[in-house]
């Protein structure tokens, strides 16, 4: 429990720095700290596989790319005026919605009883091997097969779009 609060505090602190700080490189580095803290939460939930993937993909690849681009363009501190009133209003509404949903989930949350029936594919918590690579893979390719394929399709679409944009710039 204590570990969770430390990790959560680090995550929230780093997330605040990402939003508030004006230097893009510092923001990117805080994003790494935030992602590592979230990986720590995954480990506490006994999902080591997910934690490792989080670190490899997000912290190890995506944010390195973001930092690379920031450094390549040599961006200085962000010069920004205050956001307009409509932006602020939308941000406030979305934030309130998120807090409402999360708060409701937190208030109505009941820990699973120890004798909860265990699902054979190991998706439910307390199942033997919960969070292991085997259980994860079986769930991904059986129960959640269609969402998984839909996400792959979305990624292929994004890739095609990126190639198209890059090609067009070359021809001009």
């Amino acid at each position: 429990m204590l570990v969770f609060f430390v990790v959560a505090a680090v995550a929230v602190g780093a997330a605040l720095v990402v939003v508030i700080h004006r230097n893009p490189v510092i923001q990117a580095l805080s994003l790494v700290v935030f992602l590592l803290a979230v990986a720590g939460v995954f480990v506490l939930l006994n999902a080591q596989f997910l934690a490792a993937l989080q670190v490899i993909i997000y912290a190890g690849a995506i944010v390195v790319l973001i930092t690379f681009v920031i450094m390549l363009l040599n961006l200085g501190p962000e010069a920004r005026g205050g956001p307009g009133i409509p932006t602020l209003l939308i941000a406030f509404l979305l934030g309130a919605l998120l807090i409402g949903v999360l708060g409701r989930a937190g208030l109505t949350f009941e820990p699973l009883a120890a004798n909860t029936p265990v699902s054979p594919d190991g998706v439910l918590p307390h199942a033997p091997g919960y969070g292991s690579v085997g259980a994860f893979g079986r769930a991904l390719f059986s129960t959640y097969f269609y969402p998984f394929e839909a996400v792959s399709l979305a990624i292929v679409a994004a890739l095609t779009g990126a190639v198209l944009l890059a090609k067009r710039k070359l021809e001009d």
Partner: protein, 345 residues
């Protein structure tokens, strides 16, 4: 709570970190004497027998140098960078099995710090954090040479991490597990993975050179173009920590190669039978076998460094994206075919 097991974990962690850090001064000596041998000269030979105490003299010198901080550097990031580089290298050592089990006071102590289900992935995750040390150093120094070094390094490491990942995935497909100890035991029971996947072994070796910024891929610190690369502005122990991180990364790279492709700590059966090894003697022989293999690759790193010239940056990117990655996919398909044909089982 079993205090003996708890103490064993503490001792294991300390010993492994100390041994791996102790490899650094030994390797600097090997590197300089090795360079001497390869270039038909003597190398450092004045301090102690065969120049053996040269690393001690260098270490003392680092301690007494002034620790400079560039006036326009970003101070917190500049100070943290060498720590990040070194911590990432040390973390990766946690999941590498150095031997099977040691029996102390009737308790079996596995010779690996953390035997976790997703071990290979954790190793990749820890080593992928190492690039941040270099990026942070390059950016915070506020120096164009450092910046170029950091940029080159991040581009290079992202590109070669893909080839490295594909070489690792092939082993995972073949062995059907992510647990390093299980992969080693499988190889001990049949043949080394390098015999099934020779291409994957080569890919892992080449991308290992690129990931550790060693020649012929040492563009992030190409001294003829970039003064010193990302660590141009660093002095004293901070520079020394980057240096140690580079050598620790070599150790991690060698451990990964040995564990995944060359049978890890397993002592060959005929040697075990000939010497009649069992129990703790077997464990000692396993640790010795493991480090012998690791030291071979550390020597290979030195050997290659003083043999090959450096690539140009476009050649580096060409090799990474257009040669190694397609070969990596071929290798994964080959591994899948081996599983379908039931070669391993």
């Amino acid at each position: 709570m079993d205090y003996v097991l708890l103490a064993a974990v503490a001792i294991k962690v300390t010993l492994i970190v100390v041994i791996c850090i102790a490899i650094v001064p030994i390797m600097t000596w090997v590197e300089r004497r090795g360079a001497g041998v390869l270039q038909m000269r003597l190398g450092p030979n004045r301090v102690g027998p065969f120049g053996l105490f040269q690393p001690v003299a260098d270490g003392l010198k680092f301690f007494f140098k002034e620790d400079l901080l560039p006036p326009f550097a970003n101070r917190p990031v500049f100070v943290m960078a060498p720590f990040v580089a070194m911590a990432a290298a040390i973390c990766a050592l946690a999941v590498i099995p150095f031997g099977s089990v040691l029996t102390v006071l009737g308790r079996k102590i596995p010779l690996v710090i953390a035997d976790v289900d997703a071990g290979v992935l954790l190793l990749l995750a820890a080593s992928s954090m190492g690039v941040y040390g270099i990026i942070m150093a390059g950016w915070s120094s506020n120096n164009k040479y450092s910046q170029y070094g950091g940029l080159r390094s991040s581009a290079q490491i992202i590109s070669y991490e893909l080839a490295l990942g594909l070489a690792v995935i092939a082993v995972l497909v073949l062995s059907g597990t992510l647990r390093p100890t299980a992969i080693v035991i499988q190889q001990a029971e049949s043949w080394w993975n390098v015999l099934y996947l020779p291409l994957g072994f080569l890919l892992l070796l080449i991308s290992g050179f690129a990931e550790t910024n060693r020649l012929p891929f040492d563009l992030p610190e190409a001294e003829s173009e970039l003064v010193g690369g990302y660590h141009t502005e660093y002095s004293s122990m901070k520079f020394s920590m980057f240096f140690m991180a580079e050598y620790l990364n070599m150790v991690v790279s060698a451990c990964l190669l040995v564990t995944l492709y060359l049978g890890g700590y397993a002592v060959p059966g005929f040697i075990r039978n000939a010497l009649g090894l069992s129990g703790n003697w077997l464990a000692a022989a396993e640790v010795a076998t493991f480090f012998a293999k690791v030291f071979f690759f550390l020597w290979l790193f030195v050997w290659v460094r003083w043999t090959l010239p450096r690539f140009r940056f476009d050649q580096l990117m060409h090799i990474g994206w257009k040669i190694l990655i397609p070969l990596g996919f071929l290798n994964v398909i080959w591994a899948a075919l081996l599983v379908v044909w039931g070669v391993r089982s």
